[in-house]
Symmetry: C2
Subunit: 351 residues, 2 copies
């Protein structure tokens, strides 16, 4: 069952038996019948049959309370000396007190944690139904002979988002080459990387239009404006990502990540934790474009803008503690303004 950690429950889980299944000792000690301890005291010790019990053990028949180990004397042999009365069910976890049969243990859509796994095993389950991980094919159509960094980056991103990469396919950067790579079955989502621009060597959009439907090409997102969306004739979703590393990264985060997380039953929202902070300097952005602006934390609630993705590429993501999304209707934010920062890690100063 540990393999379902991090997966999403596809079904609601109800208790099929009471939890715990029987009255159980809450601590190590001696199982007794509470009624037999009435009147016990240090001047009136009572000798009861010795029944040693460990925490978690089912209560033996005829007993309903536990005397803690350090409160019972076991001399003479075979008996326990009781010097204090105990109430019925004292130090006992009653059958069904955690959950009655039929009680909801976990609802469909629950992200399974290590504690869920133990709880499900304890409730008698050997397996559970989880949402299938989306199968993602990465089609890389690189424009140059430099080593492909987008494929490995997108594989890591897809895995972070709960998807499975079935293959990274290197396609010839022609309309036919990319279209052939799109003629695929058994995949939920295809990411085509590269060839999305307006240049003579850019064929991703035309290839998708031929292979099915190009719904969107060009979005008001910086970096990432040449990204696109559509689907093949076999209804496989296709996302076109720019071939430059920073636009590829940002378009993945804003488009592809959401689609993969949603399909896998996860929250589609960005995995980065949002937090309102103040900007130490003016953040500049072009009106009419949604812009991803990298920032660095300089104090517990202050960020400073870094050089943009278009200036320093992916180094912006690597050097930053997070980013601010400037909406298209804004030219940026003035110095000192509150901004919503999406933090890459929980490791920000004062975090």
């Amino acid at each position: 069952m540990s393999s379902v950690c991090g997966r999403v429950l596809a079904e609601a889980i109800y208790a099929t038996q009471p939890i715990p299944p029987a009255d159980r000792a809450l601590l190590d000690g001696f199982a007794v019948a509470a009624s037999a301890t009435i009147g016990a005291g240090s001047y009136n010790p009572l000798l009861l049959p010795l029944r040693v019990i460990s925490a978690g053990d089912a209560m033996p028949p005829g007993t309903d309370a536990v005397i803690p180990l350090d409160l019972g004397q076991t001399q003479p042999p075979g008996v326990v000396e009781c010097v204090e009365a105990v109430a019925p069910y004292e130090n006992v976890e009653m059958q069904g007190c955690v959950a009655a049969p039929g009680a909801l243990l976990a609802s469909a859509g629950t992200l399974l944690s290590p504690a869920h796994i133990a709880m499900l095993i304890n409730s008698g389950l050997a397996s559970v139904m989880v949402v299938r991980r989306p199968l993602v094919r990465i089609v890389s159509a690189p424009g140059s002979s430099t080593p492909d960094s987008n494929g490995p980056m997108c594989r890591a991103l897809v895995e972070r988002d709960g998807g499975v990469v079935d293959d990274i396919v290197a396609a010839e950067r022609t309309r036919q080459g990319i279209r052939r790579a799109l003629e695929t079955e058994g995949t939920d989502i295809v990411l085509v990387i590269g060839g999305t621009g307006p240049g003579a060597g850019d064929h991703a959009a035309a290839a998708l239009a031929e292979a099915g439907d190009l719904a969107i090409h060009g979005i008001a997102l910086r970096p990432g404006e040449t990204a696109g969306l559509g689907h093949t004739r076999r209804e496989v979703s296709v996302i076109l990502l720019p071939g430059s590393p920073a636009p590829c990264f940002c378009a993945y985060e804003m488009l592809a990540g959401r689609a993969i997380r949603r399909l896998g039953g996860h929250d589609p929202a960005t995995p980065y934790r949002p937090r309102v902070m103040r900007t130490a300097r003016k953040i500049v952005s072009a009106i009419g474009m949604t812009e991803i602006c990298p920032v660095r934390c300089t104090a517990s609630d202050v960020v400073e803008p870094l050089p943009s993705f278009s200036e320093i590429g992916l180094m912006a993501a690597v050097a930053a503690d997070g980013f601010v999304i400037v909406p298209e209707e804004r030219e940026g934010y003035p110095q000192g303004a509150p901004v919503n920062v999406y933090l890459y890690e929980g490791s920000c100063i004062g975090g």
Copy 2:
């Protein structure tokens, strides 16, 4: 390289070449010599040699600027008509502008993200040194015949914390059985689950004392007070975890998780995000014990205490949005008091 995502860099990475390695086009267009465009205008169009260039391509010799695709006319064939002068390096990413040779790209201890992977590949690296994942053996000495939920739960927790479980060993719950399971090599940490209590059937502490050194047995933590720490004669760290699921979970989180994260180069602090919130009701805790109290978020900054781990076991972790750690010197917190809540997920209301 995508396999190093989530791993910790063991070495600092410096640029061995300038990044980018050559002057590159920032967008699709026409490569020109800026000096040849001086004087160009709509009333004085200049005809320049046609050199189509795609974003990311190296600039051809003799060129130092890019005219965007939509600003150049390509009639007659073989030339581009330039109607506006461009400055040197306009729309060009200069060699080394992101990093000069010798610049620090990532320091030792960096947690590698997808963007790091692309950045490292782009800087010409085919592999990097990462911190070895701690190898963890789980020795399960269950007290009853019910299915073992602690082993799968701890495996999921170890993997969350960056460790690798080499084996889950079911040990006979005797001093000899547990001691034999501790006679192990090639493992960094052993978790012994069960048999930590004061009962007659509890042999974990005695087995560890025989196998090496029992440094601590019994800690002022609730749940989890029978946990222990020590090491074998071969200097393998051993952590004794109680056999009841909730104490096992809490002792893992407070002791074992820290040790595994630290050994793997990760931040040893709890992976749960802390946040100051107010408690809607009194939180009660015994003085002298550090207590883990499950809570549920009821508003954006308000939590409500849930029944304790000792009342409902692991269901407390499953039902809770997080927990409050009440330090040993406190009896709890009054209604309305600010408390530091460790959130299991980022999914709290308003979170």
